[in-house]
Assembly symmetry: C2
Homo-oligomer: 391 residues x 2
């Protein structure tokens, strides 16, 4: 194969951005041959913007079965992700899945199990893993030169959205249409980065507030407390109602502290391991010595284009992905655990009880209110995920 013929299913905010990037030739080896969308207004946009050589389908399944594609990019509402990816595998197509991997882990586990049966490339659109700040944090924590993690505080409240955003689609911010709020839509990146850098928590207790800042039925404000495998604790605080929000990711380790904020990464490195110092120092109020320095962050932040390039290159020449599709379940597990903990009003241990989660989710889907007076709008998202810390 010299070129990968790709089809995009779902041409909304994200799908249309990907389509334009591919169309402009930004991704060597990828040709956009087909798109699918259930909305006429979006198919109209395709006709007007992507040229006649792109075949347009109503249903993703038609695109998958068309023989026009070697790979698909699934950018539909979240519930449909696993089903479409599984179908793509059945038709021998490689798949790149937008985040989140799905809405509930049971569904995503089935997708992962299907992936295991095929020798096909499966990737997740975790474009924030290309951010050199987070890459550096991941390397430093994994490298253990700073010792074990002692505490994690991520205040990631800069996902501001207006009511107009929530009013722009009838599936948005409903239990039945989207399956959640800020945890499902905005935070999959952060939850993936959290587990990628710090490892999976073993217990989570979350406080989710539904429609706290907007007229929506799902959560737009979350504070989660968690415990890592080694006993370190952390918080993850997010919202779409804070302006200006904060994106400050702090990891305290035995031999120092990492803080990412405003696109900068600062390291305070200790001369000795604090755990040793604590038990050998003769002074009561003294602290181990160390110094701050801003880390030199080099390398481009290729974001979505980087993920697409790696996906194409993996298919064509076997080079590494940015994020394997099978890893999508981890961040979703965290998200599910936060929801479940908040619904049950108690701590939840991981891995979660998938059946119980689905049961609780389904209760909410049944009671989900269908939105009225929705004007379908495709917003220009440029700048919304390219902020200093790469949101």
């Amino acid at each position: 194969m010299k070129e990968v013929r790709i089809g995009i299913i779902g041409i909304g905010n994200m799908g249309s951005t990907h389509a334009e990037n591919i169309k402009k030739g930004e991704i060597p080896g990828l040709i956009l041959t087909a798109v699918a969308d259930r909305k006429e207004s979006r198919r109209e946009w395709v006709r007007a913007n992507l040229g006649e050589e792109v075949v347009i389908f109503l249903e993703g399944e038609e695109l998958i079965a068309s023989g026009l594609c070697d790979a698909v990019l699934v950018a539909t509402p979240h519930y449909q992700h696993p089903g479409l990816v599984i179908s793509a595998f059945h038709h021998g197509l490689h798949a790149l899945c937008e985040k989140p991997a799905g809405v509930y882990t049971k569904q995503v586990r089935e997708m992962n199990e299907e992936a295991e049966k095929h020798n096909l490339v499966f990737a997740m659109m975790f474009n924030q893993r290309t951010n050199p700040v987070y890459k550096k944090m991941q390397e430093l924590v994994e490298g253990k030169s700073l010792g074990e993690i002692k505490r994690v505080n991520w205040i990631i409240t800069d996902w501001y959205r207006t009511q107009a955003y929530y009013d722009s689609g009838d599936w948005r911010a409903t239990w039945d249409g989207e399956g959640g709020g800020v945890l499902l839509n905005q935070c999959p990146h952060n939850l993936d980065l959290l587990q990628w850098i710090c490892g999976m928590p073993k217990e989570v207790q979350a406080f989710c507030h539904n429609g706290k800042w907007h007229n929506i039925e799902v959560e737009d404000d979350v504070t989660a407390y968690f415990t890592l495998e080694n006993g370190a604790t952390g918080v993850f605080i997010t919202s779409t109602g804070d302006a200006p929000g904060t994106n400050r990711f702090e990891i305290t380790l035995e031999k120092g502290k990492l803080v990412s904020e405003e696109g900068k990464l600062t390291l305070y490195e200790l001369a000795v391991n604090e755990r040793e110092y604590c038990f050998t120092a003769t002074e009561g109020f003294k602290r181990p010595e160390g110094a701050y320095r801003e880390l030199d962050i080099t390398g481009e932040n290729s974001q979505h284009i980087g993920v697409l390039k790696a996906f194409a290159a993996r298919i064509l020449s076997g080079t590494p992905l940015i994020a394997d599709g099978r890893e999508g379940i981890q961040g979703l597990m965290l998200s599910n655990a936060m929801h479940l903990s908040s619904w049950l009003n108690k701590p939840v241990t991981l891995p979660i009880d998938e059946e119980l989660f689905l049961e609780e989710l389904n209760k909410r889907r049944e009671a989900s209110a269908r939105k009225e007076n929705v004007k379908e709008i495709t917003f220009d998202t440029k700048g919304s995920y390219g902020s200093k810390n790469g949101n």
Copy 2:
């Protein structure tokens, strides 16, 4: 009265510092006439350092009854604070109480009730209220020009202590001797500032970890989630095991965000109220405009000396205190609520059930282990509460 004759009960880390300041004439109108301490080593220090005119007692009650003092400064282990203050009132003495006001609110409520019966000056050593950064935050929040509070995040983990600190006194960090750990000893200032600036929470859920970083039976690591009266949520994260720790106090309001860190106070002020913007903006991903500026923080940070000066001036000429003694119960209520929530493993509403708290505390006091091999040390605390943010 031209001069106030003051006696200090408890000449440990803090009491000795206060004694030296008064002795040096730093506080106009205060003369140190007596001290009391149960430890011979400390009485010896008084003889060697404070001169012969300072009368030395073994028991605080003897000092109170001696007729040598018009006022007392109580700087004993925490459990004794309310009893000694009440006794001082009975003898017609003014009282300045070191933080915390006591160990459990029931005891402190009795102290406050006694204070109401006497026309005596009663003050708390909340020296961090003199910090111009916190004063400014308090004024800005109270003034309402930034609207209502939406979120509070205080990461106050820079209370680092070594094992040697905990080994320096047999009462330290035991349920029976101190009644708690970082919440009772290091955080009373922060909990007071939290309620002073943001108002009292209505519900708290805390995760306290006992002896996580040190060989102690009480908590040295706490993450607390709380809800304010208006529904805003917050976290309060503290530890004596983090090096370097963080002191970052962030308050998000409807019209801006305040962040105090590294002795600086930054304000991001919005042009419009976010609550209005959210429901009137036609764009989905846009944010209300605004700008950051570092606030000019003027005024000296007089700390303990400021509190002592205000105490003396109140007695001599009726000028305002830095912190009224009756306000000490607020921060302690928060501390008690955090402990209780963690012990019961569930959220606790405020005001707390004082009887239940005392019952739970007493269980822990009964099981409290008496420390062995303790070397009594009076550390030099200079610099430990004078850090950039005034700890």
